[in-house]
Structure formats: structure tokens, C-alpha cells
Amino acid sequence: MAETSLISRGTVVRGNVRGSGALEIQGRVEGDVTVTGDVLLGEAGAIRGNVSGESLTILGQVQGDLRGTEAVLVERGAKVAGDLSAPKIGIATGALVRGLVRTDGEPALAAGRRGAVTGQAMRSGGSFQKSPARAEAPKPAAVEPDSEPPPAKEERKPPPPVVPALSRGTRAKKKKSREQE
């Protein structure tokens, strides 16, 4: 069983972070974080990139998407600009989140409403673009409740297997690089 890894305060990682086990981040990561275990992002921690793991607990700041195979919990004081998905999602009072938030099994929002805010758009700049569709006039309902759930498009979001697959890939890569040495 892998132990908890720690990226401590004052440490900056530029590049992707992958591995098995849990990860605690008190410093800064500029890249994607993909682990098989839980992720804890501390108050002073920051991530610019996508994060996936089993259960994600966020107290710091994230610009990127959060995917938990078990849960995503955004705690008081945290700031997240990105999409959240997990079977269980919690956003505490005092946490700030901007993006799409979807628990597993729920249909995606109607297609026409997406697009204005993609992960890319968010990553490309600090200021957040407002969708042109956001007029003050009343709009039609967000969803058609009677309509069939998600267009296949949305299902591209990786289901759980992605993590083990990635971690296998990680080991393979490591071995490979060792062999090359």
C-alpha cells in the first residue's frame, strides 16, 4: 500500500503528478494531478491543472477540473474554477466554485448551454469570460426534464477505470526510463 505523498509548502511542481496512493499538496502544482488514492489540497495549496483521484478534498485554489471516483469535497475558503464530477459532491458554505458540477448518473445540462466555459477557456486567462447568452432577460429552463439523459458526447468523461489505467501507465513509464539508463 502506497503511502501518502506530500508536496510541501513552498514547493512548486511544474509538470504532471501521477502515482498510486494518496497525495497531500500544501505547495503549488502547475500540471495535472492523477493519483489512485485521495487528494488533499491544503489551504495554501494551489493547482493549475486537472485533478483526479479517489476522494478529493480541496481547501486551496484550483484552476482545472476535479474528478473523484468517490467524492469531491470543496471546503470553506477554497476557490475552484473548473468542472467537478464524482458520485458524491459537497461544496461547503464559504467555498467558491465556478464551473459545471455534476454527480455521476445525472444528465448533462442541455448541449446549447455548454461551450461558453470550457476548461480551456478558463485556463487561458485569469478573467472569466461571460457567455454571450447571459442576458438579463428570462431564459428558457436549463434542462428538459423529460428528455433522455446525456448525449453520448458527455460520456467522454472518464469513468473510474481511468485511474488504475493511468497508474499502470505510470509504472510502465518509470520502468522504461530506468531501463534506458
Binding site: R28, A46, I47, R48, Q61, Q63, A71, L73, K79, A81, K88, I89, G90, I91, A92, T93, G94, A95, L96, V97, R98, G99, L100, V101, R102, T103, G105, E106, P107, A108, L109, R113, V117, G126, F128, R134, P138, K139, A141, A142, V143, P145
Partner: protein, 120 residues
Amino acid sequence: MARHNLESSVLGPTTRLTGRVSGDGALRVEGSIKGDLSVSGEADIADGGSVEGNLNAAALEVSGSLLGDANVQGPIAVRSGAVVRGELRGSEVSIEPGSRISVRLETEFELDLGGPARRR
């Protein structure tokens, strides 16, 4: 509810409305509304209650289901067991684990990811 009796409204559990609700005061929805809802006070969609339409209110609490967009001046609280689909705009949005949601959150804030120092 501490408000004056005449000012607060309740749609009871067996009450179904197809149409529009607007006006002053708070509204608690225990039944169902198909249509837009706009009140100057707090809207509370109780457990078992449902709103299918867009919603405007001073504050919002959802324990039942909301299918539609919410534009709220104050906070939005989504309770465990709630079902919410749509876009949520509020001064802040809290979501309890155990709710079923597919929402877009439009909260305004600045991130400080500790990049190159910004001059103020």
C-alpha cells in the same frame, strides 16, 4: 417563518401549479410548480416539493427538486437528497454531499494561484 402571516406563502404538498408565481414575500414550495417563480423573499423548495422553471429570489434553499435556472441575490443552499439541474447564480452556493446535481455555477471571484506577482 418569522414573517407576517399575510406576507409568506406556502404551496402545500398536494398543490400543483402550472403557471407563474411572482411577487413579494417568501415562498415555501411543498407541492409542485411548473413555471417560473420570482419572489422578493426567500424561496424554499421543501423535501418532496418541486419547481420546473426558472427562479428568482432573495435566497434559495433546495431540499426537493429544481429543474431550471436560479438567479438569487443571496446564498443558495442545496441540501442532501435534493435534485438540481440548471444554472445557479447566487452570492454563494453550497451543496451538501448526497444531493444529485447537474449544475453550472456562475460565481464571480478571482483566483490567486501564486503565479508571477501581480502589481496592484
